[in-house]
Amino acid sequence: MAMNCNPKDEVDGGPPCAPGGAAKTRRPDNTAFKQQRLPAWQPILTAGTVLPTFFIVGLIFIPIGIGIFVTSNNIREIEGNVFMYYGLSNFYQNHRRYVKSRDDSQLNGDPSALHNPSKECEPYRRNEDLPIAPCGAIANSMFNDTLELFLVSNESDPTPKPIRLQRKGIAWWTDKHVKFRNPPGEGTLEEKFKGTTKPVNWPNPVYMLDSEEDNNGFINEDLIVWMRTAALPTFRKLYRLIERTDDLHPTLPAGQYFLNITYNYPVHSFDGRKRMILSTISWMGGKNPFLGIAYITVGSISFLLGVVLLVINHKYRNSSNTADT
């Protein structure tokens, strides 16, 4: 006899019928979570409760701002390592097609990419059937002015004394050692780059960027710096490093300096301008007074708003008190 089948088992067709099992209750669990009774902090935003926040923000921000401002303004003194930048304005290194126009594998020394660069490099991928190394618009438009700095030490000695400009140490360490690599293989750099051609705009192939072996080819730091595309159309890029020689003298002593520019790079085509900047950096980077001012401003505004809230709260409480009693 098929008597043992529970009549409530039927689930097809019919509605979800009332539960048959008498033992099992449908009573929901009485837990804080299920009953939405989790202990909670319930802030209520009124003038009274919020005004401490404003004061605290004010009290924190103003000192920070002052600190930053002072730091930033101290940068003026040319002591310690001096950084030499070139600046370009109105140069859209962040243009979508420009940004894409590179092949990171090739720059990493991948042999196959070296000889068969990515399609992203078009139309700077091949020249006369030879792959371009490094390919792409970014590399093609590399800044190639030469800047030399001379110190005219005094009037007695009119011959300008060249300042030693460090070519290395201007790129990110990871770029220089991880991202950018020369192609593997035996022999000289030239042999390694055999079968490739130079970018259209370049006067020399990539293995002739520098005389030093460890700053040549793809790991040339000027190239690396250039390949890190700037965020905004007005930017500066680190060009050289002027290392501090000894503690007694300032790195760049006061005096007359002479800047020799080998002008290669056209900026008229995009209404751009070129600049050369010498700067030291502090713990928070180059000179930029903005952050300090911003902190001070925001802090003051916050403080002011706090005062406004205080007044409102005071008045409001009074009125509510009178209403209460």
């Binding site: 098929a2 089948c5 039927e10 097809d12 067709g13 019919g14 509605p15 019928c17 009332a18 539960p19 209750t25 009573r27 009485n30 299920k34 009953q35 939405q36 009774r37 202990p39 909670a40 902090w41 319930q42 209520i44 935003l45 009124t46 003038a47 009274g48 919020v50 921000f61 600046g87 859209y92 962040n94 420009y98 940004v99 894409k100 126009s101 990171d104 720059l107 990493n108 399609k119 139309p123 618009a137 990871t174 890190r228 700037a230 965020a231 007005t234 680190l238 995009f270 928070m284 980077g285 180059g286 930029n288 903005f290 952050l291 911003a294 902190y295 708003l305 809230l309 409001y316 209460d324």
Partner: protein, 1482 residues
């Protein structure tokens, strides 16, 4: 095995007309229909084969899953949009991201949805499998016996044998039953939730079989209609091999899913199997509705699309100009096309446009839809889990059947409610009756009912009451004694009744409907009981002396007929409790009911020959004349009486021997005490509760229904013993006729009687027109008018009225009618219509016996719920099929109508009258100035328009509120096209609208009208099949899972156990759901706009080239991963106002109705704020890194981080409730971003062109500027918002904010006593009570108490002045009190302690429910009003008391009232202070 059978379609649509022919599956020889496929063919010949019984509810197969699921998912427009954008990305000219990467989120979303679908489908598959493999006995041709088969192997034409308690595997035509009457009882709970047994009958022609049914001999052919989903209809006929035809109807069909009960075994032939069964055809999938918020959101999504297009266009134009400017100059950074040619500016602009759309696609967030769905699922989960929506009595909680309209619950403006079963319990209790013009008021019965009510509300106070009852009992008649006895027993049951016991009782009552003692134990009216007993005796004597019945006075005979009618004019099935569901049967050898005209002729011919047309053929001649037909019957029944008498004498049952009711009453009492179960208690199972109530009432008058078979009904009377009526026909109840009838042959008189029971409006019209000439006619007329006036009285009392009438048929009349009826019965086409006509022919010229009034009690907490919902700004309309008077009365009882309200009554007889009346009403309403003068306008049409009560003078300021009462007929006119506007306008002015006598269709039309014309959110709530259409039409349909089956629940979006749960569902959960979702959607829009804004500002600095400084990975996964969790947590858990406060201040609900949280202004404000924030978040980093050597992605990454922080802080400002989950989610978001960034930035040195972000994040983490801008930017971005919020919170707080402030203050006030306890002597029992009260921590419980007190306090006003309602009076009365009190909160605890010591009895009530204050008192309102006030104020104190209870002494109960009254004002003080504050804010 049988290819024809295998080829089947799921859910084949009903073909074009035609019928199905079913033959036995056992005869292979039939030519046209292959071997075992022979079982079936269709009329026309070539026809699709019928389905077998395999159940397949799965949507997919392994192969079809991917394409089918994808196809379904692409029905959602958003998915198509995202896929299109991702595909657009594959075009090289415009691609913004790596193509594969852009597809990732879309694929992710699609995959998640697909997995969900797959899992659901798999569980369906598993349940299908289980069902398909159920066993069942099927007759096998090969083995010539019944063998076990799986359900899925059953085919149409198979013979199945089913046993008791088995589930029916397919739709089976009943051919044989072990029951000698060819009956089978089934329980249809799985189909419609009704637990009463339904009777099914063996097909005519098979019931007479003597031997066991042998399938091999079955050669008949069954013709029936095609599979359809109408559960209540089945038509067909069976053609026997000899050419005879017999009709089939739904009584012969056993439906799949039902359970066989009370019958040992049945055999049947399968007619419909598998997906063609009615059960499965009825099983439609879940409902999909779109919520209003979602509609609004979609509209805003369109705005976003527009914004997106605008931004892209702007960029495109910008890029075009940029290209033109730099291209001709051959700028170094201008990259030509691959072939070296340069793009024309226009082409470049077009490309840029497309690319911008890809880049900015996040503006329409892919995660929005998914998130909303997740949040809704969680909301549904929490609603389901709410303990306060769980009904202990029925062990059911709220069911959400529609998953995606939870937030609509927070925006309801109109509630349309059914009355019976929704506002009332649908537990019918016999209250009073009138027989032949004499009213029997049943006062004792009324008292008894009142007592039940009190027992409900005041369990604790048994002692004093009992004393008074026994007093009453000793003074009064036996009823007092009996009643007291019962109440004691129920009391003790209730008192000892722990939760478990209550549950057991409820389980019991679920199995046998309507068996609560309240409905069964009816206290008879002494006068009537005497009369019944008198005529019982008289009849018994006359019967023994073979005298005719005629010597009874007309009144007595009416009384007798009245009770007989009550007892047998129904379809009640008798069962006995000791053998559950086993029929009590003492079978008499009776002939089966008249089934054919030959049968009739055979049985009635003699009389027909002799008694010539003398319509009232005298009893004597009848009796003598057709002895041949009925001698057997009378002999037997006489025998049986004696038999019965002997039996009775054997028992120590003095009830029979007694000759007066008083001694009998003693016997009742004495009999009960020793062995309560001894009296064989019969249980009645009725299709409608009214029927059961009437049968129980008749039993109280010792006229007990003891047995019902299809052809006979047995009634037991004390003196007459068992009377067996031959049941000739039962004309069932239908809503058009509004009555039912039985045709019986009276065993005493042998007359053919028709007993009709029905709505008074119809029955009164069917009465035999009586001439006023003779005395008899005049008497009748008087009786009728008296009855009518009593009926009106009943209706005013809110009772449901039924008229009982009788008709004596002569044999000729009967024969005449029978002929037509039999034709109707056997006809195949429009059988229903013919039967209906036939019934109409029978039910005329009735003789009025009397009328009954049945009370349908209000459900618990209905008045409170209605008043709360009202305060919440909801308009409540009641649409009922009941009489106007009844409806108005119930409306008064549940406080839908106030007594100081003007009631406009619209009763029009014609379209013109209705129009005129509406016009009049409108004028009145508009002209209603401060001085509302009651107008009385009665036209020549029978219309009434009168304010029932004139406005009380004090309310002139706001004017009395109006209510509209309209009856069904007028409603039909008012709903006509030309009047509906006027009607709506009028209805809008009214506080409540009551539509009486409305049909289901009208109900839905009203809802539709309000929904479409007023553009309002509507909610319909009902419990019965007649509410289904209304429930389906409304925006939100709520079904009450009550007694009337599951149809309403099946059609609904939400199912609640009781009406009162609506309050919490709407006011708490509705509000939460709405506010959570609204805030989440707004936040979503904000977030995406702000994020896209960052990219857009960047376009100004990259030549509008659609470049993005944010790495594409961050761009794509930002919404999906980093910022999604916190908003989900907030969307699911945030509570802007606590539940207690919401319940306390229902007007907070209005914020949802007015869409305060999510309105266009909020949307645009949010967008503006988003624009501002994105400006800040863009330009602070811009300035900070201006003219620096930062590269693009080293600059973009801090911006991403800033955006994330800003989002979180913004969310923090918007989050009202911070639980640990919120903190964890925020922390998780930040950590996830950092982790992903760090991993991503160190994973690969040459991958992810073009950004190639190797070591970027790591470098940034070493850069102090990164931290500095991460600190200042979010703070700056959010300062305005925070400031604005603070200002608004202080200066122009919204209602919701006030509510929160109030709640906080409330909590603080109670902080003091709590601390005091915390210091040391917190009594153990208090701790226990706190935790038992369903609250976790003491502070929680305190806040709850606080809410409780204040809510009780809100209920207070009636004590002070019943007429002044609402808060103003509260404030007025409490202000002076407060001034006396010492300042400060600590004082509040002291009086509470003082009082609580004195009334510990009430302490337990507090934990039950907050809104349970004495429902009955409101029913019997006015006289008891002050005591009600006392009760509610007591429980007010008990709220405090439970906190402060040190000692509990139950001795002071008597003194309590007076003492309380003296000390009560004090605890109010602070509460009223709070209240005052609350109203002050408002």
């Amino acid at each position: 095995m049988e290819p024809a059978g295998r080829r089947r379609r799921r859910r084949r649509r009903r073909g074009d007309g035609g019928a199905r022919t079913v033959r036995s599956g056992l005869h292979p020889g039939l030519p046209a229909l292959g071997s075992r496929g022979a079982r079936l063919g269709l009329h026309g010949g070539c026809a699709p084969p019928a389905a077998d019984n395999r159940l397949k509810t799965t949507k997919y197969t392994l192969l079809s899953f991917v394409p089918k699921n994808l196809f379904e998912q692409f029905h959602r427009l958003a998915n198509v949009y995202f896929v299109l954008i991702a595909l657009l990305n594959f075009a090289p000219a415009v691609n913004a991201f790596q193509p594969g990467l852009a597809l990732a989120p879309v694929l992710f979303i699609l995959a998640v949805t697909a997995l969900k679908d797959l899992w659901e489908d798999y569980s369906r598959h598993r349940s299908d499998l289980a069902i398909n493999h159920r066993g069942c006995l099927v007759f096998s041709r090969e083995e010539k016996k019944y063998v076990h088969r799986f359900w899925k192997e059953i085919h149409v034409g198979d013979f199945v044998r089913l046993h008791c308690n088995e589930i029916i595997p397919a739709d089976v035509l009943l051919l044989s039953s072990s029951d000698p009457d060819g009956l089978c009882h089934i329980e249809t709970a799985n189909l419609d939730g009704e637990t009463n047994l339904k009777r099914r009958q063996v097909v005519r022609g098979f019931s007479e079989l003597v031997s066991e049914f042998n399938p091999l001999t079955f050669t008949s052919i069954i013709e029936c209609e095609k599979p359809n989903n109408d559960l209540s209809r089945f038509r067909g006929c069976i053609i026997h091999s000899n050419g005879e035809k017999a009709g089939l109807h739904k009584e012969n069909l056993l439906l799949r899913g039902c359970t066989i009960r009370n019958t040992e075994a049945v055999v049947g032939i399968v007619i419909y199997a598998g997906h063609e069964t009615k059960a499965l055809l009825n099983n439609s999938g879940p409902r999909y509705k779109r919520s209003q918020l979602e509609r609004q959101m979609n509209c805003d999504v369109l705005w976003c699309v527009l914004l997106l297009i605008c931004m892209s266009l702007f960029s495109a134009v910008g890029h075009g100009l940029w290209v033109r400017r730099y291209q001709e100059k051959k700028a170094l950074f201008d990259v030509p096309e691959a072939d070296g040619s340069s793009l024309s500016p226009v082409t470049a602009a077009v490309y840029s446009f497309l690319t911008m759309i890809i880049v900015l696609q996040v503006l329409i967030p892919i995660s929005l839809y998914v998130s909303i769905e997740i949040v809704k699922v969680c909301q549904v989960y929490f609603i389901n889990q709410d303990l306060d929506l769980y009904d202990e009595e029925t062990d059911s909680q709220l069911q959400c059947r529609a998953l995606n309209i939870t937030e609509d619950l927070g925006q309801i403006q109109y509630i349309f409610s059914d009355k019976t079963g929704t506002l009332t319990e649908n537990k019918m209790v016999f209250r009073r009756c009138t027989v032949s013009g004499v009213e029997y008021s049943h006062d004792a019965n009324a008292q008894r009912l009142a007592r039940y009510q009190e027992a409900d509300s005041e369990e604790e106070e048994v002692v004093p009451k009992r004393g008074s009852w026994s007093q009453r009992g000793s003074i009064g008649s036996h009823q007092g004694v009996r009643m007291m006895h019962r109440t004691q027993s129920t009391k003790s049951h209730r008192r000892t009744g722990s939760r478990a016991e209550a549950k057991r009782a409820s389980m019991l009552s679920r199995h046998t409907a309507f068996s609560s003692p309240m409905e069964k134990d009816i206290t008879p009216d002494p006068k009537l009981l005497e009369k019944v007993s008198e005529c019982d005796k008289g009849l018994a004597i006359s019967r023994h002396q073979e005298q005719p019945l005629a010597h009874l006075s007309p009144e007595l005979s009416d009384i007798f007929d009245f009770f007989i009618a009550l007892t047998i004019c129904n379809t009640v099935v008798v069962t006995s409790p000791d053998q559950p569901r086993q029929k009590v049967r003492v079978r008499f050898e009776l002939k089966s009911p008249v089934k054919t005209i030959e049968d009739f002729l055979r049985r009635f011919t003699p009389s027909r020959l002799t008694s010539v047309c003398s319509s009232t053929g005298s009893l004597a001649t009848n009796k003598s004349n057709h002895k041949s037909g009925s001698s057997l019957l009378s002999n037997l029944s006489n025998d049986s009486v004696f038999l019965k008498l002997e039996e009775r004498l054997g028992q120590p049952a003095p009830s029979l021997a007694s000759n007066g009711y008083s001694s009998q009453a003693e016997s009742w009492a004495s009999e009960r005490k020793p062995e309560p179960g001894q009296e064989q208690e019969l249980r009645y199972e009725a299709e409608s509760p009214d029927e059961a109530a009437l049968v129980y009432a008749a039993r109280a008058y010792n006229c007990a229904l003891v047995d019902r078979l299809p052809d006979q009904v047995s009634v037991e009377l004390p003196h007459l013993g068992r009377l067996t009526f031959e049941l000739l026909h039962t004309l069932g109840f239908d809503s058009i006729r509004k009555r039912m009838s039985v045709v019986i042959r009276h065993p005493l008189t042998d007359e053919i009687n028709v007993y009709t029971k029905g709505a008074d409006s119809v029955v009164m019209d069917l009465l035999l027109p009586c001439s006023s000439e003779d005395a008899r006619g005049r008497h009748q007329k008087r009786i009728r008018s008296k009855t009518q006036s009593f009926l009106n009285l009943y209706a005013v009392e809110g009772l449901r009225t039924l008229c009982i009438a009788k008709r004596v048929l002569s044999k000729e009349e009967y024969a005449c009618w029978l002929q037509g009826h039999l034709e109707a019965e056997s006809s195949l086409d429009n059988r229903e219509e013919l039967l209906f006509q036939s019934a109409l022919r029978l039910e005329t010229n009735l003789h009025l016996l009397g009328a009954t009034g049945i009370e349908d009690r209000l459900q618990d907490g209905v008045p409170e719920t209605i008043s709360k919902l009202r305060q919440a700004g909801l308009q409540i309309w009641v649409l009922t099929g009941d009489k106007q008077e009844t409806a108005i009365n119930i409306a008064h009882a549940c406080k839908l109508l106030d007594h100081d309200e003007e009631i406009i009554t619209l009763n029009a007889e014609s379209q013109e009258a209705c129009a005129a009346l509406l016009e009049q009403c409108l004028q009145y309403v508009q002209s209603r100035g401060p001085h509302s003068t009651p107008k009385k306008t009665e036209g020549n049409v029978s219309v009434g328009f009168f304010p029932l009560c004139s406005a009380p003078p004090q309310s002139t300021a706001r004017g009395p509120s109006l209510s509209l009462v309209i009856d069904g007929r007028s409603l039909a006119y008012a709903l006509e096209k030309n009047l509906e506007d006027k009607f709506l306008f009028l209805a809008k002015q009214c506080r409540s609208v009551l539509c009486c006598r409305s049909t289901p269709l009208q109900k839905s039309m009203v809802v539709k009208l309000v929904r479409s014309k007023l553009k309002a959110m509507t909610l319909a709530i009902g419990d019965g099949a007649n509410d289904v259409s209304m429930i389906q039409v409304a925006d939100v349909g709520v079904g009450i899972s009550g007694q009337e089956g599951m149809q309403a629940v099946m059609a609904s979006d939400f199912a609640v156990p009781k009406f009162r749960y609506l309050e919490r569902l709407l006011i708490v959960h509705g509000h939460w759901c709405y506010s959570r979702l609204a805030n989440m959607v707004l936040y979503f829009f904000y977030k995406n706009t702000m994020f896209v804004g960052l990219l857009f500002w960047f376009q100004f600095y990259c030549g509008f080239s659609a470049s993005a400084m944010i790495d594409q990975w961050y761009l794509i996964f930002f919404n999906l991963l980093f910022s999604s969790l916190p908003q989900l947590v907030t969307g699911v858990l945030d509570k802007d106002v606590s539940a207690d406060t919401l319940l306390l201040e229902p007007q907070l609900y209005k914020s949802g109705q007015k869409m305060e949280e999510y309105r266009p202004r909020a949307f645009w404000l949010n967008m503006v704020d988003a624009a501002f924030q994105s400006l800040v978040c863009f330009f602070i980093p811009y300035m900070a890194y201006y003219d620096s050597d930062v590269d693009m992605f080293t600059w973009g990454t801090p911006i991403t981080a800033i955006a994330l922080l800003t989002f979180l802080l913004h969310l923090g400002i918007e989050t009202k409730t911070w639980t640990w989950l919120n903190w964890v989610a925020c922390g998780f978001s930040i950590l996830l971003f950092l982790t992903v960034a760090l991993i991503y930035n160190s994973a690969c040195a040459t991958c992810y062109p073009p950004s190639n972000p190797y070591w970027t994040m790591q470098t940034l983490l070493g850069d102090p500027v990164f931290y500095l801008i991460c600190l200042i930017t979010p703070v700056t971005a959010l300062l305005p918002r925070l400031f604005f919020r603070a200002l608004q919170g202080s200066l122009f707080p919204t209602q919701l904010q006030l509510g929160r402030q109030l709640a906080k203050k409330c909590r603080k006030t109670l902080q003091t006593p709590k601390e005091r306890f915390a210091q040391g002597h917190l009594p153990q029992e208090l701790k226990a009570e706190l935790s038992q009260g369903g609250t976790g921590s003491p502070s929680e419980s305190l806040s709850k108490d606080c809410a409780l007190q204040t809510s009780q306090h809100l209920q207070q006003p009636p004590v002070c002045s019943p007429e002044a309602s609402g808060e103003p009076s509260t404030v007025d009365t409490s202000v002076p009190l407060r001034e006396n009190s010492p300042r400060g909160s600590p004082g509040s605890s002291i009086p509470g302690a003082a009082v609580s010591g004195e009334c510990p009895g009430h302490l337990r009530r507090k934990s039950l429910s907050t809104s349970r204050a004495a429902p009955l008192q409101s029913l019997f309102s006015l006289p008891n009003f002050s005591s009600l006030g006392c009760v509610s104020s007591l429980s007010l104190v008990s709220g405090l008391g439970s906190v402060l209870r040190f000692s509990s002494s139950s001795l002071h109960v008597d003194k309590r009232d007076s003492e309380f009254l003296s000390s009560s004002p004090q605890p109010e003080q602070d509460l009223s202070g709070l209240q005052r504050q609350a109203t002050g804010y408002v």
